[in-house]
């Protein structure tokens, strides 16, 4: 059975790209463009992994992962952001990996594989 990934990303083009690339890798990928939508889905469905951006309108990715942790500590989470600077926030430790976005998706794909197989 395909592993279910949830991608939280406010850039529409990146949502499309991640969905295409991770689907090719054999995962079932759901994308949402804001943290509240992600939280609603996490309450309803079981995901094997969440990939989230940090800087998003309304609620940022760090608030999202802390709320997810309060619901379910066992979901692996990858932070996928354009910024190194959020590493200073120790709440990012709730995540299992911190990836700085780049043109290549190899690091992201390899981390996904490491965490969910």
């Amino acid at each position: 059975m395909k592993k279910k990934l949830l991608v939280v990303e406010d850039e529409k083009n990146l949502c499309v790209l991640y969905k295409e690339e991770l689907t090719k890798e054999g995962y079932h990928v759901t994308t949402v463009m804001d943290a509240d939508a992600a939280l609603r889905l996490v309450k309803k469905q079981k995901f094997d992994l969440i990939i989230t951006d940090i800087r998003m309108p309304v609620k940022n990715g760090i608030d999202l992962i802390t709320q997810i942790m309060a619901l379910r500590k066992d979901i692996p989470i990858i932070i996928n952001t354009a910024y190194q600077s959020y590493k200073r926030d120790f709440m990012t430790w709730a995540a299992d990996a911190y990836i700085v976005k780049s043109a290549s998706l190899e690091e992201l794909k390899s981390k996904v594989k490491e965490l969910v197989g």
Binding site: K87, F90, M91
Partner: protein, 339 residues
């Protein structure tokens, strides 16, 4: 009228504009910094050990296992560090510019399993345990010869740079000596030649004799508000025994330091309504390395701890000039801090 004062160690001038404010009330936030609402999860809390890297050191109850509950002080490497452990970095030159790999150590000391306790609210033996942990971790890291300087610091409160309320301190070791420390070491050597004694020993003697900036003195430490402080209610904790290295502190001395810190941090909380603050230890570079630049380091430098409440903002004037405008004289601040 305002007054310009020079800090003898750093050589920095400050402007004491005391007429702008005279009471601690002026620095109390309209509402004390709110405890952040963390929705039921903190990676530093007991039970969440799996969310941190494996511990490098812990003080734990007998019979409890590594990376499991049962600890009362826990040290873990930074999960997403800015500097990573590695081989000694090579300095590269690119024209006029220099760079090196980001090699270093970054550890977090989780001071207690209790999320809502402040360090100074803990029992004395526990505060002493945290201080002994600082000492033991610094000694351990200094055995790795590529790190010239090990810095211990604490940020408390969002305004002071803390991202979590859970009490914690940090240790960062770097392959180079930070510029501010370098300048302090250089100035101390120069002042040692001028006064023929450690400048900090002289400051301790003079300040305890004058008394107006003395906050407290006990058998091993004194706390003063410095003559030319950058910030309101800034304090320095000096050991009475001369030593360039914090790591030379004995168990007994650290017990007294625990008592000293508990007193002054509690007093700071009372006077300024629980302000955000930073404290850090300034000590000489890694004693396992030779530092040819300072031939008299052991005699000229004196480790100390600086406490800086975050009650004013550093802005354009300070950034642009290196001058600091401080609206509270250290004599006034010491008066309030003595209680």
């Amino acid at each position: 009228m305002s007054e310009l004062r020079k800090d003898i160690v750093s050589g920095r001038w400050v402007i004491l504009a005391s007429e702008r404010s005279k009471r601690p009330d002026d620095f109390r936030p309209a509402q004390p910094e709110k405890k952040e609402v963390e929705p039921g999860f903190c990676p530093f809390c007991e039970g969440n050990e799996s969310k941190t890297p494996s511990e490098v050191f812990a003080r734990r109850r007998k019979g409890t296992r590594k990376d499991k509950p049962g600890w009362w002080v826990r040290v873990v490497p930074n999960k997403f560090p800015a500097l990573t452990r590695g081989i000694p970095p090579v300095r590269h030159d690119e024209g006029i510019f220099q760079w090196m790999d980001g090699t270093g150590v970054h550890e977090v000391i989780i001071e207690t399993p209790a999320h809502d306790k402040e360090l100074f609210e803990l029992p004395l033996y526990h505060i002493q345990g945290v201080l002994e942990t600082y000492r033991d971790r610094v000694i351990s890291i200094e055995k790795e010869f590529q790190y010239k300087y090990v810095h211990v610091f604490k940020n408390k409160g969002r305004e002071a740079g803390a991202s979590l309320n859970h009490p914690h301190s940090q240790i960062v070791a770097t392959p180079i000596i930070p510029k501010g420390v370098n300048e302090e070491l250089y100035n101390c050597e120069r002042l040692h030649r001028q006064f023929r004694e450690c400048i900090f020993c002289r400051i301790i003697r003079d300040e305890t004799m004058i008394g107006e900036r003395l906050v407290l003195k006990n058998e091993h430490f004194c706390v003063i508000t410095p003559f030319a402080p950058r910030f309101p209610f800034e304090m320095r904790v000096y050991p009475l025994r001369h030593s360039p290295w914090f790591t030379t502190m004995s168990k007994i001395e650290l017990g007294v330091l625990a008592k000293t810190l508990r007193t002054v941090l509690s007093q700071l909380k009372n006077v300024l309504s629980d302000p955000p603050f930073n404290y850090f230890i300034h000590q000489a570079p890694n004693p396992n390395l030779t530092h040819e630049a300072w031939i008299n380091l052991e005699k000229s430098y004196h480790w100390h701890l600086e406490i800086i409440p975050v009650v004013t903002r550093v802005a354009g004037f300070e950034w642009g000039t290196g001058f600091y405008i401080n609206p509270v004289t250290p004599e006034t601040a010491a008066g309030f801090l003595r209680g």
